[in-house]
């Protein structure tokens, strides 16, 4: 028999039993659709994360923090620097205190080869009031020399570190009901920070709080906790595009202010317990500094150098392998869930094919009587299984794609209300499309093995007598 005849016969035979073929194929369609959706979601998440990381060059960043043991690891000032040390930072060793991440550190690390810039990571919570609306957010302090990192949708970035100006994200304005971002430019905005009020921070007040609670005997609220709020007025100079998927590191805020106003503001960062025991004047240096390199390939040598100086480092690129492992586990989990549907569909194929053989028992006898070999009979039923798999694969792919698009649409319509830009949560690479169809055919062929062997074993003498 010719291949074209096998295919034609398969379609013709399946068409004769339309309902059963439809139901069986539908089972495969559901299975493949589920599998495709699951895998495409996994791949979509991976693609979004890695694309976003690459786009924002997050793999080029090193986050530096102070180390409690840094003094022990700190290079001996009397020790002769190596040639590499000289190349990277000839002045550094004798200048910077490894316990403090301050402007001196920033200046010196910026001088290292392959470092584009460095800036302190200062974040603190604040209540934002604008045009009668209030929103809570974390404020990111961003020196003027790196404020152009942001993609602006309106206005411009600030050029001075001293002015009380800020850049706000489009999503924050969106949440505040402002659609025309140009409207916000040059408008006044208020930031309220939380700070410690040392005037009431005494033993008598604390004792009173624990004895009587935060309300007096009349039930009215009393201000006995040692906290106060401070309000500051800023001018909006720019509206930034929110940095995509879950916010980018280190630019992950809705409001960015320059260094100067930040230093003048009374605030609790709420990132360390020491905030409660130190006045702003006592806190020296920054809790962390971000160092941006020209390429991810320089992360390792620069990181090693900074570690040698006694600081702790964190680079996202180090987490890449871990992320890949996590993605593989996620893929495997999603694949396993999808496979349940495929296994159920396979049972449907086996059932359909066995039923078909029982119904066509006499026909198999006729096939053999007119010269069909066992191999021919096997191939006929094998092709029928394959056709079910092919149709299931193609329509399953279409179903998976359609369902993914609908889910994508729903999620994006919800997140767009929060000002989050459109994200495609599903990815359909060519290998997934082709693989889904091939996998469907393979699974169907595997499901067809038993029925096919059964068909080939039919005794023509018995089959021809069968009524």
């Amino acid at each position: 028999m010719r291949i074209s005849d096998y295919i034609e016969q398969s379609f013709a035979n399946l068409w004769k039993r339309k309902l059963r073929t439809f139901l069986t194929t539908f089972g495969v369609v559901i299975g493949i659709g589920a599998l495709v959706s699951m895998i495409s979601f996994g791949k979509g998440v991976q693609k979004n994360v890695t694309d976003q990381f690459n786009k924002l060059e997050l793999f080029n960043y090193i986050s530096v923090t102070t180390s409690s043991s840094s003094r022990e690891n700190h290079a001996d000032p009397d020790q002769q620097p190596s040639a590499e040390d000289v190349n990277l930072a000839p002045r550094f060793i004798a200048v910077v205190d490894p316990n403090i991440l301050d402007d001196t550190f920033i200046r010196e690390v910026t001088g290292l080869k392959d470092v584009e810039y460095a800036f302190p990571e200062i974040r603190f919570p604040a209540m934002i009031r604008f045009k009668g609306k209030e929103e809570f957010s974390f404020i990111q302090v961003l020196p003027a020399y790196v404020s152009d990192l942001m993609k602006l949708r309106a206005g411009e970035s600030y050029t001075s570190d001293e002015e009380n100006c800020l850049i706000i994200s489009d999503s924050m304005l969106h949440r505040m009901g402002i659609k025309n971002y140009e409207e916000a430019i040059r408008q006044q905005i208020e930031l309220s920070t939380l700070t410690l009020d040392f005037s009431i921070f005494n033993l008598a007040n604390i004792a009173s709080f624990f004895i009587r609670g935060s309300k007096d005997p009349n039930g009215t609220r009393t201000e006995r906790l040692p906290f106060a709020t401070r309000s500051y007025t800023f001018t909006i100079v720019g509206v930034a595009e929110r940095m995509g998927f879950g916010g980018a590191i280190p630019l992950r805020s809705d409001v960015y202010i320059p260094l100067g106003p930040s230093q003048r503001m009374e605030k609790l960062s709420l990132t360390s317990i020491w905030d409660f025991f130190q006045s702003p004047g006592q806190i020296k240096g920054y809790s962390s500094v971000s160092v941006k390199l020209s390429s991810a390939k320089y992360v390792e040598p620069v990181k090693k150098k900074i570690q040698d100086w006694g600081f702790k480092t964190f680079a996202l690129i180090d987490q890449l392998e871990e992320m890949k492992k996590a993605f593989i586990f996620m893929d495997m989990f999603l694949f396993a869930v999808g496979m349940i549907a495929i296994v159920v569909a396979s049972l449907g194929i086996i059932n359909t094919m066995v039923m078909s053989i029982m119904e066509r028992y006499k026909e198999i006898g006729v096939m053999k009587a007119v010269g069909a070999s066992d191999r021919d009979v096997k191939k006929i039923f094998f092709f029928e299984s394959g056709v079910i798999g092919f149709l299931g694969g193609v329509f399953g792919l279409i179903l998976g794609w359609a369902v993914s698009m609908i889910i994508n649409l729903i999620i994006n319509s919800i997140t767009s209300r929060e000002g989050v830009p459109y994200v495609n949560y599903f990815s359909f690479p060519w290998w997934l499309c082709l693989g889904a169809i091939l996998f469907s055919i393979l699974v169907s062929l595997a499901a067809g093995i038993y029925p096919t062997l059964r068909a080939a074993r039919v005794d023509p003498v018995v089959a021809l007598r069968h009524d």
């Binding site: 028999m1 010719r2 074209s4 005849d5 034609e8 016969q9 004769k16 006499k362 026909e363 006898g365 006729v366 096939m367 053999k368 009587a369 007119v370 010269g371 069909a372 070999s373 066992d374 191999r375 021919d376 023509p460 003498v461 021809l464």
Partner: protein, 241 residues
């Protein structure tokens, strides 16, 4: 369509030969002997009639000659080749090209038209679709059903269905036609027409025909020789021509 032998060798007694042909069916501990040491020979171009009571082994003989079944003992030689020694694949080729089988219950595929039923064996012979159609139309025309080619078996009379079955058996131009009770489901007039058609094929095209029938009168009229079967043995042979 002939035996592939010189005309003066027609009716050579050695075209189909069986030697001590035995078939035993086993169902658990019970053994049923369907054929017991049958020795017979059919000449090339001969019309052999086979008759006997039900259960005498006629159909078993037909299945063995047609390569649908294999003997428990003994050998079958067709055209000098022992088909009892053939593998399953070789037997399929034998059924495809050397023998045509006609059955009492026609055994047509109910969802296929007359034309599709006739063309069906050509599928396994690897014949192209277009040629399959042409050849099936020609053979259907030969059996007088050119105008009924697009009808389903259910839309045809018993005689017409049997003629479609004969056309299907002839489509691969076999040298032997084995007919197992081809008139069993037909009225006497139609039965006669069918046997006449087989006889014509035998006479005009040199086709070797082995036909099983209960109707001894028909066999006496059309067959060259008639053998009688009883309890799996040949109990008699009558030469009519």
């Amino acid at each position: 369509m002939n035996c592939g032998l010189p005309v003066n060798n027609m009716n050579s007694p050695n075209f189909i030969e069986t030697e001590d042909l035995t078939k035993v069916y086993s169902t658990g501990r019970i053994e049923v002997v369907a054929l017991q040491g049958v020795n017979l020979s059919v000449g090339c171009g001969e019309f052999l009639g086979v008759t006997g009571p039900s259960g005498s082994g006629k159909s078993t003989l037909m299945n063995l000659l047609g390569g649908l079944d294999t003997p428990s003992n003994g050998r079958i030689k067709v055209e000098g080749k022992f088909i009892s020694d053939l593998s399953k694949e070789e037997l399929a080729l034998y059924r495809r090209f050397q023998v045509g089988l006609v059955f009492q219950s026609f055994n047509l595929i109910s969802s296929y038209t007359a034309l599709e039923n006739v063309a069906f064996p050509l599928l396994f012979a690897g014949v192209a679709k277009k040629e399959r159609k042409i050849r099936a139309e020609q053979v259907l025309a030969k059996v007088g059903l050119g105008n009924r080619k697009d009808h389903l078996p259910a839309e045809l009379s018993g005689g017409e269905q049997q003629r479609v079955a004969i056309a299907r058996a002839l489509i691969n131009q076999p040298k032997i036609l084995l007919a197992d009770e081809p008139t069993g489901n037909l009225d006497s007039k139609t039965s006669r027409e069918i046997v006449q058609a087989l006889s014509d094929l035998n006479k005009n095209q040199g086709l070797t025909v082995v036909m099983i029938s209960h109707e001894e009168s028909l066999l006496a009229e059309f067959a060259d020789n008639v053998i009688h079967f009883c309890d799996g043995r040949v109990t008699g042979e009558v030469k009519h021509k």
